[in-house]
Amino acid sequence: MAAIAPDAIKRQSFRLVMWLFTLLTIVPFALLLLTSLKSKQDLFRGAFALPAYPHFENYVSAWVDGHFGTYFWNSIIVVVPVVTCSIVLGLLTGFAFAFLSFPFKRSIFVILTIGMMVPTEAFIIPLYYEMRYLGLLNSYAAMILPQIAMSLPFATLFMAATMQQLPKDVMEAALLDGASRGLILRRVIVPLLKPAISSLGLFLFIWTWNEFLIPLILVNDDAFRTMPLGMLFFQGRYTVNTPVLTAGAVLVIAPIIVVYLIFQRKFIEGLTAGASK
């Protein structure tokens, strides 16, 4: 029997472990997708049994009866301004931290970092009273404004860090070319940071889309509920109809996957930016 090289064994075991982890990640999603296409009867034939034909009516049922149509648009109404405003503000504040000198720069930077560490649970009650005082409970603003504020520390640090990695002499060349700060940001930095902006946008999209506590506490009118919150109340109503329930879950995660696939290339570019020349 030919001896197997230890390197080959190492490589094969590594592959095996990787495949194991891949399956661990994919199988629950595949099961979720499979279940969402089954009828109630198919369900009793086993978790991995294929349905006779795909039951897309589960999705229609979730979208219409489960109000996912409303929840979906509510999520879009909240996510778009949060992501857009956070990116624009993050670019401005990131630029300031990366290139400008101003009083208490370090202290403000530390405060921003702390802002990222504090969990929502720690300030949700004061936030509730604040929103009530402002008369914003049960409104889109109640979900949008706090989430912009919560996204800003990360957006600032992320943008500042990426801007600092840009070639310094390109900025200096623009300065010598007579460009103002605003023009340098708009015409030089933003185009160069497109991959990083895409990555940031994707992060913020995922976080905002999945945000649960803020809409749960600050909104109790079904007309303003977002997807994750809608899922919670949908679960309460449809515990007996697992296929429709899983169709609802797929509807919640599908936009994230679609957005990721669209920005995938830029996202990877952003993650690896600066790794090599």
């Binding site: 002499d169 200096e172 060349a173 300065l175 010598l176 007579g178 460009a179």
Partner: protein, 350 residues
């Protein structure tokens, strides 16, 4: 075009003074090269002229304006960077026209100026390309094009040829020089390559440790270096140095006596360093004995590393040399071209 005047310019980072009082008058239309080893402050000085670094004290004037507190964009200068610093997301045409776009120039005027610069630099066919689609030499030409479209008063070059290969460097060196001759704009050029400095400069400023060691034309620096540092820095291969003592009989070093350049009898007994350039050592049957260590034929000349008076030295001969390592040859220094430096201060004695 404008003269540039640096008067007692200093720069400190905390307690460390990295530019220690530099005075240079750059004449209108002059090509001045700042040269020195890494960390000598030459790039910092250039960036101070550009306004990219503040100055701690002193005065910088461009034309008749003191520009100490003036932002870079108001100094009417253009700079070419070592890494080209092109805008990667803009075409060659937009790169070159960018500085004109926000200075109130019309589109037709910008196009005209870009075309003019592109013609001069042979970039007309590359205007639609992006920097990533260009070779190193082409990128450097775009960087120069970006500088000349603005018709600035002063050009600043920060080691622009460092990233190019040896052959292209020679070509670009000639291009920069001919561009200067054509446009006549005052130019300050930073390099650590003394060959670049010698071939391009009207005058050279040799810097070391934040100070100016000597200012002069290339041949002044080569023929009469003010001190041992300049003597060793300018010239390739570098000048040979022999430490020893000045005596009435000549310069005594390592058991041999060399002829002294000039009447310096009053320095009898003084410790000094004898400097002789490699091409000023000639073969002579009556000369000093030297052991051959290495022979490097270059074609047009032969470079021989040898040991003379206990010191390793280099000699360059135009004629073919048949000597082999280990053999002994006899050499005679050209006394008229010899240099003497003070052993302690390094200052020139003759």
């Amino acid at each position: 075009m404008a003269p540039v005047k640096l008067a007692n310019v200093r720069k400190s980072f905390g307690a460390v003074e990295i530019i220690q009082g530099v005075d240079v008058d750059i004449v209108d239309g002059e090509f001045l090269v700042l040269v020195g080893p890494s960390g000598c402050g030459k790039s910092t000085l250039l960036r101070m002229i550009a306004g990219l670094e503040s100055i701690s004290s002193g005065e910088i004037a461009i034309g008749d304006r003191v520009v100490n507190d003036l932002e870079p964009k108001f100094r009417d200068i253009a700079m070419v960077f070592q890494n080209y610093a092109l805008y990667p997301h803009m075409t060659v045409e937009r790169n070159m026209g960018f500085s004109l776009e926000h200075r109130g120039h019309s589109k037709s005027e910008i196009a005209e100026r870009v075309q003019w610069a592109a013609q001069i630099l042979d970039l007309a066919k590359l205007l639609d390309r992006y920097p990533r689609q260009l070779s190193g030499g082409q990128r450097q030409r775009v960087a120069m094009g970006r500088a000349i479209v603005r018709n600035p008063q002063v050009f600043l070059f920060d080691e622009p040829l460092s990233n190019l290969d040896a052959k292209l460097r020679v070509v670009m060196r000639a291009e920069i020089k001919s561009l200067h001759q054509r446009l006549g704009v005052t130019t300050v050029y930073v390099t650590h390559d003394q060959v670049e400095a010698m071939t391009m400069a009207d005058r050279i400023v040799v810097m070391n440790g934040g100070k100016v060691e000597q200012i002069g034309t290339p041949l002044e620096l080569y023929d009469r270096p003010a001190n041992r540092f300049v003597a060793g820095f300018i010239g390739s291969p570098a000048m040979n140095f022999l430490p020893g003592t000045i005596t009435r009989a000549g310069f005594e070093a390592g058991g041999v006596t060399l002829p002294l350049p000039g009447p310096i009898a009053e320095r009898d007994g003084q410790d000094a360093v004898y400097g002789i350039r490699p091409e000023h050592l000639a073969l002579d049957g009556e000369g000093l004995e030297a052991e051959v260590l290495l022979v490097e034929p270059m074609g047009s000349e032969t470079q021989v590393t040898l040991r003379l008076a206990g010191q390793q030295m280099i000699a360059v001969f135009r004629e073919r040399i048949s000597a082999r390592p280990g053999e002994t040859i006899r050499l005679r220094p050209d006394v008229a071209a010899a240099h003497l430096f003070d052993a302690a201060s390094g200052a020139r004695l003759n």
